[in-house]
Amino acid sequence: MNKTIERLAPYIFGLIALGGWQGLVWALGVPPYVLPGPIAIAQAYLDGHAVLNQALLSTLSVTFVALGAATVLGVALAVAMAASPLFRAAIQPWAVILQVTPIVAIAPFIIIWVNQPFLALVVCAVIVAFFPILSNTAAGLASTPPELRDLFRLNGATRWQTLTLLSLPAALPSFLTGLRISGTLALVGAVVAEFVAGSGGFASGLAYRIIEASYRLEIPRMFAALVLLGLSGIVIYAALGWLETALLRRRDGA
Protein backbone atom coordinates (compact mmCIF):
# COMPACT_ATOMS: atom_id res chain seq x y z
CA MET A 1 0.00 0.00 0.00
CA ASN A 2 2.69 2.45 1.07
CA LYS A 3 4.89 1.39 -1.83
CA THR A 4 2.06 1.96 -4.30
CA ILE A 5 1.45 5.46 -2.99
CA GLU A 6 5.15 6.20 -3.14
CA ARG A 7 5.32 5.05 -6.74
CA LEU A 8 2.28 7.09 -7.71
CA ALA A 9 3.44 10.16 -5.75
CA PRO A 10 5.22 11.94 -8.63
CA TYR A 11 2.21 11.51 -10.93
CA ILE A 12 -0.25 12.65 -8.27
CA PHE A 13 1.93 15.64 -7.50
CA GLY A 14 2.16 16.43 -11.22
CA LEU A 15 -1.61 16.30 -11.61
CA ILE A 16 -2.14 18.52 -8.58
CA ALA A 17 0.42 21.02 -9.90
CA LEU A 18 -1.17 21.04 -13.37
CA GLY A 19 -4.61 21.49 -11.82
CA GLY A 20 -3.35 24.35 -9.65
CA TRP A 21 -1.68 25.95 -12.64
CA GLN A 22 -4.83 25.76 -14.74
CA GLY A 23 -6.91 27.00 -11.79
CA LEU A 24 -4.69 30.05 -11.27
CA VAL A 25 -4.73 30.92 -14.97
CA TRP A 26 -8.52 30.76 -14.95
CA ALA A 27 -9.00 32.53 -11.64
CA LEU A 28 -6.65 35.41 -12.37
CA GLY A 29 -7.54 35.63 -16.05
CA VAL A 30 -3.88 35.46 -17.14
CA PRO A 31 -3.70 35.98 -20.92
CA PRO A 32 -2.20 32.97 -22.83
CA TYR A 33 0.61 35.10 -24.34
CA VAL A 34 1.93 35.60 -20.79
CA LEU A 35 1.25 32.21 -19.27
CA PRO A 36 -0.93 29.62 -21.02
CA GLY A 37 -2.61 26.95 -18.93
CA PRO A 38 -2.03 23.22 -19.52
CA ILE A 39 -5.24 22.98 -21.55
CA ALA A 40 -4.14 25.75 -23.92
CA ILE A 41 -0.76 24.04 -24.29
CA ALA A 42 -2.39 20.71 -25.09
CA GLN A 43 -4.60 22.51 -27.60
CA ALA A 44 -1.54 24.14 -29.19
CA TYR A 45 0.05 20.70 -29.54
CA LEU A 46 -3.04 19.23 -31.15
CA ASP A 47 -3.27 22.18 -33.56
CA GLY A 48 0.37 21.90 -34.64
CA HIS A 49 1.13 18.27 -33.98
CA ALA A 50 2.23 17.52 -37.55
CA VAL A 51 4.93 20.20 -37.44
CA LEU A 52 5.87 19.54 -33.84
CA ASN A 53 6.16 15.76 -34.26
CA GLN A 54 8.29 16.31 -37.35
CA ALA A 55 10.48 18.62 -35.30
CA LEU A 56 10.66 16.07 -32.49
CA LEU A 57 11.75 13.40 -34.96
CA SER A 58 14.45 15.71 -36.30
CA THR A 59 15.83 16.50 -32.84
CA LEU A 60 15.73 12.85 -31.80
CA SER A 61 17.58 11.78 -34.96
CA VAL A 62 20.38 14.19 -34.11
CA THR A 63 20.36 12.97 -30.51
CA PHE A 64 20.58 9.28 -31.30
CA VAL A 65 23.14 9.57 -34.07
CA ALA A 66 25.22 11.76 -31.76
CA LEU A 67 24.84 9.29 -28.89
CA GLY A 68 25.98 6.46 -31.15
CA ALA A 69 28.99 8.42 -32.35
CA ALA A 70 29.80 9.54 -28.78
CA THR A 71 29.71 5.91 -27.66
CA VAL A 72 32.13 4.78 -30.36
CA LEU A 73 34.43 7.77 -29.79
CA GLY A 74 34.28 7.61 -25.98
CA VAL A 75 34.92 3.87 -25.74
CA ALA A 76 37.69 3.96 -28.35
CA LEU A 77 39.47 6.81 -26.56
CA ALA A 78 39.04 5.12 -23.17
CA VAL A 79 40.52 1.85 -24.47
CA ALA A 80 43.42 3.69 -26.10
CA MET A 81 44.04 5.65 -22.89
CA ALA A 82 43.99 2.46 -20.83
CA ALA A 83 46.40 0.78 -23.24
CA SER A 84 48.92 3.62 -23.45
CA PRO A 85 49.82 5.92 -20.55
CA LEU A 86 51.52 8.20 -23.09
CA PHE A 87 48.31 8.55 -25.11
CA ARG A 88 46.40 9.19 -21.90
CA ALA A 89 48.82 11.93 -20.86
CA ALA A 90 48.58 13.53 -24.28
CA ILE A 91 44.80 13.37 -24.67
CA GLN A 92 43.28 13.73 -21.21
CA PRO A 93 43.82 17.47 -20.67
CA TRP A 94 42.38 18.26 -24.12
CA ALA A 95 39.34 16.13 -23.49
CA VAL A 96 38.76 18.04 -20.26
CA ILE A 97 39.22 21.40 -22.00
CA LEU A 98 36.69 20.37 -24.66
CA GLN A 99 34.35 19.30 -21.87
CA VAL A 100 34.54 22.50 -19.83
CA THR A 101 34.20 24.89 -22.79
CA PRO A 102 30.48 25.73 -23.08
CA ILE A 103 29.01 24.19 -26.23
CA VAL A 104 27.08 27.45 -26.88
CA ALA A 105 30.44 29.09 -27.46
CA ILE A 106 31.78 26.36 -29.74
CA ALA A 107 28.62 25.70 -31.73
CA PRO A 108 28.80 28.81 -34.01
CA PHE A 109 32.22 27.71 -35.27
CA ILE A 110 31.03 24.22 -36.00
CA ILE A 111 27.96 25.53 -37.81
CA ILE A 112 30.27 27.59 -40.00
CA TRP A 113 32.87 24.86 -40.58
CA VAL A 114 30.58 21.89 -41.14
CA ASN A 115 28.51 22.56 -44.22
CA GLN A 116 26.07 19.70 -43.89
CA PRO A 117 23.50 20.98 -41.34
CA PHE A 118 22.55 17.60 -39.86
CA LEU A 119 26.21 16.72 -39.43
CA ALA A 120 26.94 20.08 -37.79
CA LEU A 121 24.24 19.46 -35.18
CA VAL A 122 25.53 15.93 -34.58
CA VAL A 123 29.08 17.18 -34.07
CA CYS A 124 27.91 19.67 -31.44
CA ALA A 125 25.88 17.03 -29.63
CA VAL A 126 28.78 14.56 -29.72
CA ILE A 127 31.09 17.14 -28.12
CA VAL A 128 28.65 17.51 -25.22
CA ALA A 129 27.83 13.82 -24.94
CA PHE A 130 31.07 11.90 -25.32
CA PHE A 131 32.81 12.95 -22.13
CA PRO A 132 30.76 10.98 -19.57
CA ILE A 133 31.15 7.85 -21.69
CA LEU A 134 34.89 8.45 -21.96
CA SER A 135 35.48 9.14 -18.27
CA ASN A 136 33.17 6.40 -16.98
CA THR A 137 34.54 3.77 -19.35
CA ALA A 138 38.10 4.80 -18.51
CA ALA A 139 37.32 4.52 -14.80
CA GLY A 140 35.73 1.11 -15.38
CA LEU A 141 38.73 -0.14 -17.34
CA ALA A 142 41.03 1.04 -14.56
CA SER A 143 38.98 -0.67 -11.86
CA THR A 144 39.68 -4.23 -12.99
CA PRO A 145 40.74 -6.19 -9.89
CA PRO A 146 44.57 -6.52 -9.89
CA GLU A 147 44.26 -10.20 -8.88
CA LEU A 148 42.40 -10.95 -12.09
CA ARG A 149 45.09 -9.12 -14.08
CA ASP A 150 47.64 -11.33 -12.32
CA LEU A 151 45.62 -14.41 -13.17
CA PHE A 152 45.59 -13.42 -16.83
CA ARG A 153 49.34 -12.81 -16.72
CA LEU A 154 50.01 -16.17 -15.06
CA ASN A 155 48.23 -17.89 -17.91
CA GLY A 156 50.09 -15.98 -20.57
CA ALA A 157 47.10 -13.96 -21.78
CA THR A 158 47.63 -11.63 -24.73
CA ARG A 159 46.69 -7.96 -24.47
CA TRP A 160 43.74 -8.62 -26.74
CA GLN A 161 42.49 -11.43 -24.47
CA THR A 162 42.92 -9.24 -21.40
CA LEU A 163 40.95 -6.47 -23.11
CA THR A 164 38.08 -8.54 -24.48
CA LEU A 165 37.73 -11.15 -21.74
CA LEU A 166 38.51 -9.00 -18.72
CA SER A 167 38.79 -5.21 -19.03
CA LEU A 168 35.86 -4.47 -21.33
CA PRO A 169 33.35 -6.74 -19.56
CA ALA A 170 34.55 -5.38 -16.22
CA ALA A 171 33.99 -1.83 -17.47
CA LEU A 172 30.46 -2.53 -18.75
CA PRO A 173 28.62 -1.28 -15.61
CA SER A 174 30.59 2.00 -15.58
CA PHE A 175 30.12 2.39 -19.33
CA LEU A 176 26.34 1.97 -18.98
CA THR A 177 26.25 4.62 -16.24
CA GLY A 178 28.16 6.95 -18.56
CA LEU A 179 25.83 6.10 -21.43
CA ARG A 180 22.81 7.10 -19.35
CA ILE A 181 24.31 10.48 -18.52
CA SER A 182 25.41 10.97 -22.13
CA GLY A 183 21.94 10.12 -23.44
CA THR A 184 20.37 13.19 -21.89
CA LEU A 185 23.45 15.29 -22.66
CA ALA A 186 23.18 14.39 -26.34
CA LEU A 187 19.66 15.81 -26.29
CA VAL A 188 20.91 18.97 -24.58
CA GLY A 189 23.72 19.25 -27.14
CA ALA A 190 21.30 18.80 -30.04
CA VAL A 191 18.96 21.47 -28.69
CA VAL A 192 21.76 23.97 -28.04
CA ALA A 193 23.14 23.40 -31.53
CA GLU A 194 19.70 23.88 -33.03
CA PHE A 195 19.32 27.18 -31.18
CA VAL A 196 22.60 28.41 -32.61
CA ALA A 197 21.96 26.96 -36.06
CA GLY A 198 18.36 28.19 -36.12
CA SER A 199 19.49 31.78 -36.32
CA GLY A 200 21.82 30.75 -39.14
CA GLY A 201 19.01 29.67 -41.43
CA PHE A 202 18.93 25.89 -41.06
CA ALA A 203 16.13 24.62 -38.95
CA SER A 204 13.66 21.87 -38.39
CA GLY A 205 14.15 20.66 -34.80
CA LEU A 206 12.17 21.40 -31.67
CA ALA A 207 14.52 24.15 -30.53
CA TYR A 208 13.93 25.99 -33.77
CA ARG A 209 10.18 25.63 -33.31
CA ILE A 210 10.52 27.23 -29.89
CA ILE A 211 12.41 30.20 -31.34
CA GLU A 212 9.96 30.48 -34.22
CA ALA A 213 6.96 30.38 -31.92
CA SER A 214 8.49 33.00 -29.66
CA TYR A 215 8.93 35.38 -32.64
CA ARG A 216 5.26 34.89 -33.40
CA LEU A 217 4.25 35.22 -29.75
CA GLU A 218 2.71 31.75 -29.91
CA ILE A 219 3.47 31.11 -26.28
CA PRO A 220 1.31 27.95 -25.90
CA ARG A 221 3.15 26.40 -28.85
CA MET A 222 6.49 27.26 -27.24
CA PHE A 223 5.35 25.39 -24.16
CA ALA A 224 4.12 22.46 -26.24
CA ALA A 225 7.57 22.11 -27.84
CA LEU A 226 9.19 22.44 -24.42
CA VAL A 227 6.99 19.68 -23.01
CA LEU A 228 8.01 17.39 -25.90
CA LEU A 229 11.68 18.08 -25.13
CA GLY A 230 11.20 17.38 -21.44
CA LEU A 231 9.35 14.15 -22.13
CA SER A 232 12.05 13.05 -24.59
CA GLY A 233 14.72 13.63 -21.96
CA ILE A 234 12.82 11.62 -19.37
CA VAL A 235 12.15 8.77 -21.80
CA ILE A 236 15.80 8.61 -22.91
CA TYR A 237 17.03 8.62 -19.32
CA ALA A 238 14.53 5.99 -18.22
CA ALA A 239 15.12 3.78 -21.26
CA LEU A 240 18.90 3.80 -20.78
CA GLY A 241 18.41 3.15 -17.07
CA TRP A 242 16.21 0.19 -17.90
CA LEU A 243 18.76 -1.06 -20.41
CA GLU A 244 21.49 -0.79 -17.76
CA THR A 245 19.53 -2.81 -15.19
CA ALA A 246 18.31 -5.38 -17.69
CA LEU A 247 21.71 -5.99 -19.28
CA LEU A 248 23.56 -6.32 -15.99
CA ARG A 249 20.89 -8.51 -14.41
CA ARG A 250 20.88 -10.76 -17.44
CA ARG A 251 24.65 -10.98 -17.49
CA ASP A 252 25.44 -11.35 -13.78
CA GLY A 253 22.20 -13.00 -12.65
CA ALA A 254 22.47 -16.36 -10.93
Partner: protein, 246 residues
Protein backbone atom coordinates in the same frame (compact mmCIF):
# COMPACT_ATOMS: atom_id res chain seq x y z
CA UNK B 1 60.84 -28.59 -6.70
CA UNK B 2 62.59 -25.27 -6.16
CA UNK B 3 65.22 -23.63 -3.96
CA UNK B 4 65.22 -20.13 -2.55
CA UNK B 5 68.74 -18.71 -2.35
CA UNK B 6 69.09 -15.61 -0.14
CA UNK B 7 65.98 -14.17 -1.74
CA UNK B 8 65.27 -10.55 -0.79
CA UNK B 9 62.70 -8.04 -1.92
CA UNK B 10 63.03 -4.31 -1.42
CA UNK B 11 60.38 -2.03 -2.87
CA UNK B 12 61.20 1.28 -4.59
CA UNK B 13 59.97 3.15 -1.50
CA UNK B 14 62.81 1.42 0.44
CA UNK B 15 60.46 -0.95 2.27
CA UNK B 16 62.33 -4.18 2.87
CA UNK B 17 59.69 -6.87 2.54
CA UNK B 18 61.91 -9.97 2.60
CA UNK B 19 65.51 -10.60 3.53
CA UNK B 20 67.77 -13.62 3.21
CA UNK B 21 65.10 -16.21 2.50
CA UNK B 22 66.79 -19.56 1.92
CA UNK B 23 64.91 -22.85 1.74
CA UNK B 24 64.64 -25.99 -0.37
CA UNK B 25 61.14 -27.13 -1.20
CA UNK B 26 60.71 -30.75 -2.26
CA UNK B 27 58.03 -31.94 -4.70
CA UNK B 28 54.82 -32.92 -2.95
CA UNK B 29 55.39 -30.79 0.12
CA UNK B 30 52.55 -28.75 1.61
CA UNK B 31 54.40 -25.64 2.74
CA UNK B 32 52.69 -23.13 5.01
CA UNK B 33 54.18 -19.64 4.95
CA UNK B 34 53.14 -18.45 8.37
CA UNK B 35 53.61 -14.98 9.73
CA UNK B 36 51.92 -11.80 10.94
CA UNK B 37 50.41 -9.27 8.55
CA UNK B 38 53.02 -7.35 6.59
CA UNK B 39 55.80 -9.92 7.04
CA UNK B 40 56.19 -10.32 3.29
CA UNK B 41 54.66 -13.77 2.95
CA UNK B 42 52.34 -12.69 0.15
CA UNK B 43 55.32 -11.04 -1.54
CA UNK B 44 57.19 -14.34 -1.41
CA UNK B 45 54.23 -16.01 -3.08
CA UNK B 46 54.24 -13.40 -5.84
CA UNK B 47 57.97 -13.96 -6.36
CA UNK B 48 57.33 -17.69 -6.74
CA UNK B 49 54.55 -17.01 -9.24
CA UNK B 50 56.89 -14.78 -11.25
CA UNK B 51 54.53 -11.83 -10.82
CA UNK B 52 57.42 -9.91 -9.27
CA UNK B 53 61.17 -10.35 -9.42
CA UNK B 54 63.39 -10.64 -6.33
CA UNK B 55 65.68 -7.67 -5.80
CA UNK B 56 68.45 -9.99 -4.59
CA UNK B 57 69.09 -13.71 -4.49
CA UNK B 58 67.41 -16.17 -6.78
CA UNK B 59 64.84 -18.89 -7.10
CA UNK B 60 66.23 -22.07 -8.66
CA UNK B 61 63.66 -24.34 -10.27
CA UNK B 62 64.03 -28.00 -11.09
CA UNK B 63 61.71 -27.31 -14.01
CA UNK B 64 61.09 -23.65 -14.75
CA UNK B 65 57.32 -23.15 -14.73
CA UNK B 66 55.57 -21.89 -17.85
CA UNK B 67 52.00 -20.66 -18.34
CA UNK B 68 49.60 -23.03 -16.60
CA UNK B 69 52.28 -24.69 -14.47
CA UNK B 70 51.33 -22.57 -11.50
CA UNK B 71 47.84 -22.43 -10.04
CA UNK B 72 47.23 -19.29 -7.97
CA UNK B 73 44.41 -18.94 -5.48
CA UNK B 74 43.92 -15.41 -4.25
CA UNK B 75 42.64 -14.15 -0.92
CA UNK B 76 39.27 -13.36 -2.51
CA UNK B 77 37.71 -15.73 -4.98
CA UNK B 78 38.12 -13.04 -7.71
CA UNK B 79 35.79 -14.75 -10.16
CA UNK B 80 34.49 -13.05 -13.28
CA UNK B 81 31.03 -12.03 -12.01
CA UNK B 82 29.47 -12.32 -15.47
CA UNK B 83 30.71 -15.86 -16.09
CA UNK B 84 29.27 -19.11 -14.76
CA UNK B 85 31.29 -21.40 -12.50
CA UNK B 86 32.37 -23.55 -15.45
CA UNK B 87 33.24 -20.50 -17.54
CA UNK B 88 35.42 -19.25 -14.70
CA UNK B 89 37.15 -22.60 -14.37
CA UNK B 90 37.60 -22.80 -18.16
CA UNK B 91 39.27 -19.37 -18.22
CA UNK B 92 42.93 -20.42 -17.68
CA UNK B 93 42.63 -23.06 -20.41
CA UNK B 94 40.85 -20.62 -22.70
CA UNK B 95 43.65 -18.08 -22.27
CA UNK B 96 46.12 -20.71 -23.36
CA UNK B 97 44.11 -21.52 -26.47
CA UNK B 98 42.48 -24.80 -25.40
CA UNK B 99 39.24 -25.35 -27.33
CA UNK B 100 36.04 -25.37 -25.30
CA UNK B 101 35.15 -28.92 -26.32
CA UNK B 102 38.59 -30.24 -25.44
CA UNK B 103 38.52 -28.44 -22.10
CA UNK B 104 35.02 -29.53 -21.06
CA UNK B 105 35.97 -32.84 -19.37
CA UNK B 106 38.83 -31.19 -17.48
CA UNK B 107 36.57 -28.35 -16.36
CA UNK B 108 33.95 -30.82 -15.19
CA UNK B 109 36.59 -32.87 -13.37
CA UNK B 110 38.02 -29.80 -11.63
CA UNK B 111 34.57 -28.71 -10.50
CA UNK B 112 33.66 -32.14 -9.16
CA UNK B 113 37.06 -32.31 -7.43
CA UNK B 114 35.96 -29.36 -5.27
CA UNK B 115 32.46 -30.78 -4.88
CA UNK B 116 30.69 -28.31 -7.17
CA UNK B 117 29.81 -30.61 -10.05
CA UNK B 118 26.17 -29.60 -9.85
CA UNK B 119 26.84 -25.88 -9.84
CA UNK B 120 28.61 -25.64 -13.20
CA UNK B 121 26.03 -23.24 -14.64
CA UNK B 122 25.70 -21.03 -11.54
CA UNK B 123 26.92 -17.44 -11.64
CA UNK B 124 29.08 -16.20 -8.73
CA UNK B 125 26.22 -14.05 -7.43
CA UNK B 126 24.26 -17.21 -6.72
CA UNK B 127 27.09 -18.91 -4.80
CA UNK B 128 28.09 -18.61 -1.13
CA UNK B 129 31.52 -17.34 -0.09
CA UNK B 130 32.79 -20.87 0.46
CA UNK B 131 31.46 -22.06 -2.88
CA UNK B 132 33.07 -19.14 -4.71
CA UNK B 133 36.38 -20.07 -3.09
CA UNK B 134 35.87 -23.65 -4.26
CA UNK B 135 35.36 -22.42 -7.82
CA UNK B 136 38.54 -20.39 -7.44
CA UNK B 137 40.42 -23.52 -6.33
CA UNK B 138 38.96 -25.50 -9.24
CA UNK B 139 40.15 -22.72 -11.57
CA UNK B 140 43.68 -23.13 -10.16
CA UNK B 141 43.53 -26.93 -10.49
CA UNK B 142 42.09 -27.15 -13.98
CA UNK B 143 45.42 -26.81 -15.76
CA UNK B 144 46.88 -29.56 -13.54
CA UNK B 145 49.64 -27.25 -12.25
CA UNK B 146 52.83 -28.59 -10.76
CA UNK B 147 52.65 -25.96 -8.04
CA UNK B 148 49.63 -24.56 -6.24
CA UNK B 149 50.12 -21.14 -4.64
CA UNK B 150 47.46 -20.01 -2.18
CA UNK B 151 47.33 -16.56 -0.60
CA UNK B 152 45.25 -16.74 2.60
CA UNK B 153 42.38 -18.21 0.62
CA UNK B 154 40.18 -19.04 3.62
CA UNK B 155 40.81 -15.92 5.72
CA UNK B 156 37.51 -14.27 4.80
CA UNK B 157 35.34 -17.33 5.42
CA UNK B 158 33.42 -18.24 8.56
CA UNK B 159 34.92 -20.82 10.91
CA UNK B 160 32.70 -23.73 9.85
CA UNK B 161 33.17 -23.15 6.14
CA UNK B 162 36.90 -22.69 6.71
CA UNK B 163 37.22 -26.02 8.53
CA UNK B 164 35.35 -27.80 5.76
CA UNK B 165 37.51 -26.25 3.05
CA UNK B 166 40.67 -27.03 5.02
CA UNK B 167 39.58 -30.67 5.33
CA UNK B 168 38.85 -30.85 1.62
CA UNK B 169 42.09 -29.12 0.63
CA UNK B 170 44.12 -31.41 2.86
CA UNK B 171 42.43 -34.49 1.37
CA UNK B 172 42.93 -33.12 -2.14
CA UNK B 173 46.63 -32.57 -1.49
CA UNK B 174 47.01 -36.09 -0.10
CA UNK B 175 45.20 -37.49 -3.14
CA UNK B 176 46.99 -35.48 -5.81
CA UNK B 177 50.47 -35.22 -4.31
CA UNK B 178 50.77 -31.66 -5.62
CA UNK B 179 53.25 -29.20 -4.18
CA UNK B 180 51.36 -26.48 -2.33
CA UNK B 181 52.63 -23.21 -0.90
CA UNK B 182 49.97 -21.79 1.37
CA UNK B 183 50.21 -18.34 2.93
CA UNK B 184 48.38 -17.89 6.21
CA UNK B 185 48.49 -15.84 9.39
CA UNK B 186 46.67 -18.55 11.32
CA UNK B 187 48.83 -20.84 13.45
CA UNK B 188 45.98 -23.36 13.62
CA UNK B 189 45.53 -23.41 9.87
CA UNK B 190 49.25 -23.90 9.22
CA UNK B 191 49.47 -26.63 11.85
CA UNK B 192 46.47 -28.47 10.47
CA UNK B 193 47.26 -28.28 6.76
CA UNK B 194 51.00 -28.38 6.25
CA UNK B 195 53.79 -30.89 6.52
CA UNK B 196 56.33 -28.06 6.28
CA UNK B 197 55.93 -24.76 8.10
CA UNK B 198 58.13 -21.74 7.39
CA UNK B 199 57.57 -19.24 10.18
CA UNK B 200 58.39 -15.71 9.02
CA UNK B 201 59.41 -12.92 11.39
CA UNK B 202 57.82 -9.45 11.13
CA UNK B 203 59.11 -7.04 8.49
CA UNK B 204 61.58 -7.52 7.03
CA UNK B 205 60.47 -11.13 6.66
CA UNK B 206 63.10 -13.71 7.59
CA UNK B 207 62.66 -17.39 8.19
CA UNK B 208 62.41 -17.65 11.97
CA UNK B 209 61.69 -21.36 12.07
CA UNK B 210 61.52 -24.23 9.59
CA UNK B 211 59.32 -26.98 10.97
CA UNK B 212 58.51 -30.40 9.52
CA UNK B 213 55.61 -31.59 11.60
CA UNK B 214 54.03 -34.99 11.20
CA UNK B 215 50.60 -35.16 12.72
CA UNK B 216 48.83 -38.51 12.31
CA UNK B 217 46.18 -38.42 9.61
CA UNK B 218 42.59 -39.26 10.41
CA UNK B 219 39.41 -37.81 11.77
CA UNK B 220 40.96 -36.69 15.03
CA UNK B 221 43.74 -34.75 13.36
CA UNK B 222 42.41 -31.43 14.58
CA UNK B 223 42.10 -32.59 18.20
CA UNK B 224 45.15 -34.84 18.45
CA UNK B 225 47.86 -34.23 21.04
CA UNK B 226 50.45 -33.89 18.25
CA UNK B 227 48.41 -31.05 16.75
CA UNK B 228 48.06 -29.27 20.09
CA UNK B 229 51.79 -29.66 20.75
CA UNK B 230 52.59 -28.25 17.30
CA UNK B 231 50.37 -25.21 17.89
CA UNK B 232 52.15 -24.67 21.21
CA UNK B 233 55.54 -24.97 19.54
CA UNK B 234 54.69 -22.43 16.83
CA UNK B 235 53.19 -20.10 19.42
CA UNK B 236 56.45 -20.32 21.36
CA UNK B 237 58.41 -19.46 18.23
CA UNK B 238 56.31 -16.35 17.68
CA UNK B 239 56.81 -15.26 21.28
CA UNK B 240 60.55 -15.32 20.62
CA UNK B 241 60.50 -13.42 17.31
CA UNK B 242 57.65 -10.94 17.75
CA UNK B 243 58.90 -7.64 19.17
CA UNK B 244 57.06 -6.60 22.33
CA UNK B 245 55.50 -10.01 22.62
CA UNK B 246 55.50 -11.38 26.15
Amino acid sequence: MFSLRSVAKTYPNATVALEGITADIAPGEFVALLGPSGCGKSTLLRLLAGLEAPSAGEIEWEHRPGPGDIGFVFQDATLLPWASAEENVYLPLRLRGVERAAAAPRVAAALSQVGLGEFAKAKPRGLSGGMKMRVSIARALVSDPMLLLMDEPFAALDEFTRHKLQDDLHALWRRSGKTVVFVTHSIYEAAYLANRILVLSPRPGRIAADLRPSIPEGTHRRTSAAYTDLVAEITGTFQRVMPGHE
